[in-house]
Subunit: 496 residues, 2 copies
């Protein structure tokens, strides 16, 4: 007979009932073929003595197995493994190996996406400064304020309904408030039907890509371009066409030429501060771009994630503010103002596109976090968000000025850069005598981690030697340490 | 000269600065072709008098326009619309029509998805009872508890880092706690590398589909099947193969036959309580299914959203608990226990699949809500979630019993149903003499809204006349009202 006594291990400290543990293990033996169909099981008295447990525990386990169909009782004969179960050849697997198999490797094939980048740890370890490619400083997030408003939102009985399934396109209150907010601050002329709440700009780009680009649709982007947008387009099935970018932004004359040779479905622009080079699209090209969109009936995906961070003159109104023909899909976000983990953004587009976006969103994750959306709506209404934005804008401007001053002072021999008019990063071209990889290695030795290799935005391997260094998330002393570190690293490299 | 005075309308109550309003409107005139390149603009003194604003406001606006490249100043000649701007043929558009265009219709084409369903309002209006197809009662959500823990999480300085970009696969603390929780309660043998945090079961289904099903991959599902899963598979490019479902669940013998005729990439099962019919997959078929998965190397997508809601014997361990060959992708959720809007779920799979899921998630919405995930981790650790689950389980059992008793008592002549062993809905077949549409119309007259038409789960139009009626979200008096309403409706229909 099967050695129950030596094979069953019960853990009295576990949260799972003893009788269920017994059940689980017997099922395991059946499934693995150690207990074959029609095998007789020991009587409850005998098994309880063997395992030193109460007989009622064994009876409960057998009842459970019976009701689940794993065993059967035959009158006057006893309890047996159900005879109708398929016979399994015993797998003499080593539980350790089995676990390793489970952890590591699938027993089926699936689609690998070589274009997508793996998950990295973004949290800084103590003592290490990470220089990102333009993230806000989460230490400035108005988190007590959010927590307080969130709590007040929850307390209101009439907000209780927000806990159940709600509109896929987002909390209605937030959408209404965004209509006013965007019409007033950015010259849009939209209605609540044109607003779709996303989980940050990235989801806007993802959904727009999925709707616009099926296999072999062409999308025009700048050369260089925001890397994650590129991978999102490719993943949706799009073919990327690169258009040169100079100091006036995307070259629209080149784009026009492209449109004449092939059908362009969409054009991606970060009109305010081009990613990665931070240049602003000139007035002339803005108009030309809108004209082309109308003429060739393509969609403009305008990623304006940076709108709120303009340090000199007033921010330039987005293309969307002059879109009279429904060509612009306008994407923005609050994650840069508040905190990256507070994932609320928006996608503004003609109603027919929003309706389709909602249908897709429904199968992606059903809806956003309605309580957090309601909280944000409240904070825009009271002006808290706008005040916070003004506050951090001043801080980031100071940081930009310090960063650029020190760069010019201490590293002029190595770098070429322009002071960015806005945003959270400087676009720096390293003198081609040097190699970024060497700089990264030398900096790492001094506990400063620069952008990873795949974030250099050299999409077509032209060797431009440019990189984005984010200044906004670094405080004054961190900026000084980073510049010191770069200086030491480059001196080391140039003398070796 | 262009009539600035009559065309410019400044709103002193707006949040946007007067000078920016002036800018915006002049840009608008340029973009729409009303002000052509090289047109002379009025002097600042003259315009300030015309518009009755301070001269400094006009100067600020001109400075802004100059810096954005819309206008140019020629020494001793004055200010002009930039001569290098493209000449636009004036669009004599009616602002009202233009706005309507913007709201409604895109000036580009995009992919329409006829298989996806539109966004409906899920919130109940006052006085109307909505009978869903098996949602929890959000009125029972432990919202004060969540709010309190959330606040405590936020207060801790070492949680501040959670506000920045974090791991795509989810909060590490929650993943660690889920390893213990799932290993203990469901007999899994997983490690933290096998856990991926989603925004509810639906995102698990979406991501699994995107990774498994490219164009023309076949996925086997029950007939009938959970509608939203079907649409998610089709959207990913999958071809659906329907396998019969009887009172023991998915017919695995039929599945085996199917596997022999074509390559099946994945099989979707809700093993615990089949959706929509609520039957449980028998022990025999569970084993057979795992055997087939190994033999034919397909993935089993096990959607176990309902695991925690089993009213009779203990819940049956998932297929994933006996997956020694890495065939099972196990999907679960906390949205049913806590609240639909608190969108946290998980996907459990071999590490290679999880890595790929993370790469995809990165371009969908970058990451989940790390503060909410940390909050949930804490609530599982303290047992709050488990206690809440026990509490609502009792309430739902009482509701199920009342609902089924009344159904049997009052509506036996019209309906055929079995008492579900778990879950939040009863699968009811209406006598084929009657038509659900008539019942829906009659009920609506009494302010009771039944499931919409497309939720009848008649995937292959067999006319089974079945429907899911959710009891869990209805309290005692609401259940009585719904049964009364059904009774009246059916009496009305059968005598007419």
């Amino acid at each position: 007979m099967f050695p129950f006594k030596s094979n069953i291990v019960l853990d009295r400290t576990s949260n799972r009932n003893l009788y269920l543990q017994l059940c689980d293990q017997i099922i395991g033996f059946i499934k693995s073929g150690k207990l074959l169909p029609s095998t007789k099981l020991p009587g409850s008295r005998r098994l309880s003595e063997d395992l030193k447990i109460h007989r009622k525990t064994v009876i409960a386990a057998y009842d459970e197995l019976l009701s689940q169909g794993w065993i059967e009782t035959l009158p006057a004969r006893g309890t047996f493994v159900n005879s109708i179960l398929p016979i399994i050849k015993p797998q003499h697997f080593d539980p350790n190996t089995a676990q390793a198999t489970k952890e590591k490797k699938s027993g089926f094939s699936f689609i690998q996406r070589p274009n997508l980048t793996p998950d990295l740890n973004d949290y800084s370890e103590t003592g290490i400064i990470k220089v990102n490619d333009g993230s806000p400083d989460h230490r400035l997030a108005p988190i007590e304020e959010i927590s307080r408003v969130y709590r007040n939102v929850i307390k209101k009985t009439y907000h209780r309904k927000l806990l159940t399934y709600g509109p896929v396109s987002g909390n209605l209150e937030l959408r209404k408030i965004l209509v006013n907010y965007l019409n007033q601050t950015r010259g849009l002329r939209i209605d609540v039907d044109n607003v779709f709440i996303t989980r940050g700009s990235q989801m806007g780009i993802y959904i727009a890509s999925q709707l616009l680009l099926s296999s072999k649709n062409h999308i025009a982007v700048g050369n260089s371009n925001y890397m994650t947008a590129d991978t999102t387009f490719v993943d949706a099935g799009g073919i990327i066409e690169r258009v040169p970018v100079d100091k006036y932004g995307l070259n629209t004359v080149a784009l026009e030429g492209l449109c004449k040779t092939k059908k362009i479905t969409a054009v991606f622009v970060t009109s305010h501060h081009h990613h990665p080079t931070t240049v602003t699209l000139s007035a002339e090209r803005r108009m030309h771009l809108l004209q082309l969109a109308q003429q060739f009936r393509f969609a403009i995906i305008e990623d304006d994630y940076d709108y709120d961070f303009h340090y000199g003159n007033a921010p330039i109104l987005p293309l969307a503010s002059n879109d009279y023909n429904g060509n612009v899909i306008y994407i923005g976000s609050f994650t840069k103002i508040i905190a990256p983990a507070m994932r609320i953004g928006y996608l503004i587009a003609p109603k027919d596109f929003i309706d389709e976006a909602s249908k897709l969103r429904k199968i992606i994750d059903r809806q956003g976090d309605s309580l957090l959306e309601q909280t944000l709506a409240h904070m825009i209404k009271t002006g808290d968000v706008q005040r916070h934005c003004q506050k951090v804008l001043k801080i980031y401007k100071t940081r930009r000025d310090l960063f650029c001053t020190l760069l010019k002072e201490k590293l002029d021999a190595y770098f070429d850069f322009e002071i960015p008019k806005g945003g959270m990063a400087v676009w720096i071209r390293l003198n081609k005598k040097y190699n970024w990889d060497d700089v990264v290695i030398q900096c790492k030795k001094q506990s400063v981690e620069l952008n990873p290799e795949w974030k250099r935005y050299d999409n077509d391997c032209s060797g431009h030697n440019g990189i984005r260094l984010g200044f906004a998330s670094l405080n004054e002393s961190e900026i000084k340490r980073v510049i010191d570190c770069l200086e030491k690293a480059l001196k080391m490299i140039s003398t070796s």
